[in-house]
């Protein structure tokens, strides 16, 4: 056969709950029940409130850079619900707060983290989440490795989900994580939040491919594109992927098509590079609006409930901020104490004297007793 086709592939797109709150009942079968929908809506709303207050905190100078999740929350909550808390691991980026909260991360820790305190990543025992990851596109390999350990130890009913953006798929480590996961056939779910932008770079300049989902074809990895603002589609795709994963079917890829409604972070000004019309159009496709329309249409939600939720969300996030703010300041030498399980002698000396000069480390060199004294004496 001189000229023939040796491989074929296609990418499917899934939407179950459309922009107007209409549900495709057939596709929705065996996905979310109404209680779950309400629960996810609440999670999204609370997360949105956290965004708002964090933004204000940053603007008033009480917090550093913070990346809002606004507009993308359906990806986080829909997928997190399909994963099993306690069994599974999450290897996050930084724009899926609600997923982390649903899997046991105390909410105030994310604020603590963005306030420049590593203790915000010191998750309690049993919370299977790796730290938020600033270096883009490099953490997914850990998801492959953690899932590999699950396979190796024959852990039952366990999988790993890792989140990342459209921009992250350009990094070499994206390719590395996908290739290793598919070769080793480990239970990793690669969830790409394609929000169309990587800071100022639109998706069309990030990649030449029509979809992100097709990148998984390179690895013969099951892959799907879903409406990322549709909690049903997100849930369904993740549920399918997890089922495949725990049954030994290896990794899967999910592209959630979504949009970041806020600036990249509080350090960014998206109006420099984004058409306001584009933002407006996407604001209408906000997952919160859509989910609320659905809930109202099936009679499980009304204005009163909405009001109550908003008040509750307000209360919760204020408390979260208070908790974050009232955490005692870290010891000044905190950053030494976790360098290794056991700190080498020389590092201990650096820590105990907060000095690197030889005389500082050994003040006896100039006949002094302690560094503090040395300063007093000479300054």
């Amino acid at each position: 056969m001189p000229h023939h086709t040796v491989f074929e592939a296609k990418i499917e797109h899934l939407q179950i709950l459309d922009e107007t709150g209409n549900l495709d009942k057939k596709l929705a079968k065996d996905t979310l029940n109404d209680d779950q929908v309400v629960y996810l809506y609440e999670q999204m709303r609370i997360c949105r409130a956290l965004d708002d207050i964090a933004f204000k905190l940053q603007r008033s100078g009480r917090m550093g850079t913070y990346p809002q999740n606004k507009g993308q929350e359906a990806n986080a909550v829909g997928s997190a619900l399909a994963m099993v808390k306690g069994n599974d691991w999450i290897v996050p980026s930084y724009r899926e707060n609600a997923a982390l909260f649903m899997h046991g991360m105390p909410m105030h820790m994310v604020i603590q983290y963005w306030m420049g305190d590593e203790r915000g990543s010191q998750f309690p025992d049993g919370v299977n989440i790796t730290p938020l990851s600033v270096p883009i596109g490099t953490h997914m390999l850990h998801a492959t490795g953690i899932a590999w350990a699950m396979k190796q130890r024959k852990v039952k009913d366990a999988a790993v989900i890792t989140y990342f953006g459209d921009g992250a798929t350009s990094e070499g480590d994206f390719h590395n994580a996908m290739n290793f996961a598919s070769v080793m056939q480990v239970p990793t779910i690669f969830y790409c939040q394609n929000n169309s932008w990587a800071i100022s770079l639109p998706r069309e300049q990030q990649m030449n491919s029509a979809t992100v989902a097709q990148k998984a074809i390179a690895y013969d990895m099951p892959t799907i594109r879903v409406d990322g603002n549709d909690i049903f589609a997100v849930y369904k795709a993740t549920q399918d992927a997890r089922k495949r994963a725990i049954e030994g079917g290896g990794p899967s890829f999910i592209e959630g098509v979504t949009y970041r409604l806020a600036d990249h972070t509080t350090a960014d000004d998206a109006s420099r590079y984004r058409d306001p019309k584009e933002v407006e159009a996407w604001a209408e496709r906000d997952p919160l609006i859509r989910t609320r329309m659905y809930m109202e249409s099936v009679g499980v939600w009304d204005d009163k409930k909405q009001e109550e939720l908003e008040t509750r969300a307000e209360t919760i996030v204020k408390e979260v901020i208070n908790t974050a703010i009232s955490v005692p300041e870290p010891d000044k030498a905190d950053f030494f104490n976790y360098m290794f399980a056991e700190i080498p002698e020389d590092l201990k000396k650096q820590r105990d004297t907060m000095r690197t000069t030889s005389i500082g480390r050994n003040p006896s060199q100039i006949g002094l007793k302690a560094p503090a004294q040395a300063v007093a004496q000479n300054a």
Binding site: S170, I199, L201, Q205, Q206, R272, T356, I359, P363
Partner: protein, 324 residues
């Protein structure tokens, strides 16, 4: 003559370079329409075109590797790496390709490339946005490493870097991007690579530093007693570095303090200290003191000032060295 900040001097130098040489191409993340996350390239795309100030995919190895290819083909590429922490993914291309190409081909293939990288701590940034990896590259043969800390020097050294026929890493101390302005000549000028600057002359002790730490050193020196006379040297060029100026100074003063943000162990301070001993052994009246970053990960910003070699620590280093 314009009064400019450090970042302003960089922008206008790049602007002039783009205008003067059609073979120059800039590439990096968000450097186009957005003007770079520090606005160092603000307006340059609009003025010089999308094909000359190029927004690239989010991929540092891709940026570095294609910048090498562009340079091999005779362009002068100026890649920007958004923060020094993201040199990590580009490390292999930089150290194992860019730095080796000329010697590997005995001069047949060369890489005239200037890698611009904001560097260092002190701006309350998230993780991996505050490191100081200069000694990694000083130890990697085949690249030149610069770190100016004033607008005037930034322009002169950036011009030299761009003109240089070999790969140069141009570190920009982000902490002082906008802290002060100074007069910067409008016309083109160069500052030679490999020459340190004697910022102030003195008799009792030599302080060697570079980057944002320069201003901590100045503050420390300011609070010394009147009768102590310190010679302050801005290294500026990390590799090659100007050992002659340092050795001459320490031979005169007999005492030396080196200050830098990077971790102590195997930092550039170690090299300078070792050389000072080698070259000024008989003149040294005290061991060289290094006021450096600790051998820890640069902490997130809540504690970054504890990590950084701030003025009080430099002052301690100086006073103790004098007391030896």
């Amino acid at each position: 003559m314009a009064v400019q900040t450090l970042v302003g001097a960089i922008t206008s130098t790049l602007d002039q370079a783009l205008a003067a040489d059609k073979d120059i191409i800039m590439l990096g993340e968000d450097i186009g329409l957005n003007g770079g996350v520090f606005r160092a390239t603000d307006g340059l795309q609009a003025k010089h075109g999308k094909d000359r100030v190029v927004d690239t995919p989010l991929d540092e190895s891709g940026i570095m590797g294609t910048a090498i290819g562009l340079a091999i083909a005779g362009m002068k590429s100026i890649p920007e790496i958004q923060f020094e922490g993201f040199l990590g993914p580009a490390y292999d291309q930089l150290v194992n390709h860019a730095a080796r190409m000329r010697t590997r081909t005995r001069g047949a293939v060369t890489v005239p490339m200037t890698v611009r990288v904001p560097v260092g701590g002190g701006i309350h940034a998230p993780e991996l946005h505050s490191d100081s990896p200069e000694s990694i590259y000083a130890h990697s043969p085949g690249v030149k490493v610069l770190m100016p800390c004033t607008p005037y020097d930034a322009k002169g050294l950036l011009n030299s870097a761009i003109k240089d026929p070999d790969p140069v890493i141009f570190f920009e101390p982000k902490r002082v991007y906008r802290t002060f302005k100074e007069e910067v000549p409008d016309e083109y000028y160069e500052i030679p690579i490999g020459k340190a600057k004697v910022v102030s002359e003195g008799e009792d002790l030599t302080v060697v530093t570079w980057g944002a730490t320069m201003f901590q050193a100045l503050e420390a020196i300011d609070s010394l007693p009147e009768d102590v006379s310190v010679e302050l040297i801005d290294l500026r060029s990390i590799y090659p570095f100007d050992m002659d100026t340092i050795a001459e100074s320490v031979s005169k003063t007999g005492r030396c303090v080196i200050a830098h943000e990077a971790p102590l162990t195997c930092g550039m301070g170690a090299e300078i200290a070792a050389r000072v001993m080698e070259e000024c052994f008989l003149n040294l009246e005290a061991p060289v003191q290094r006021v450096a970053g600790f051998d820890t990960i640069m902490p997130y910003y809540k504690l970054e000032n504890e990590y950084l070699p701030e003025a009080p620590r430099i002052l301690q280093g100086i006073t103790e060295c004098l007391a030896y």
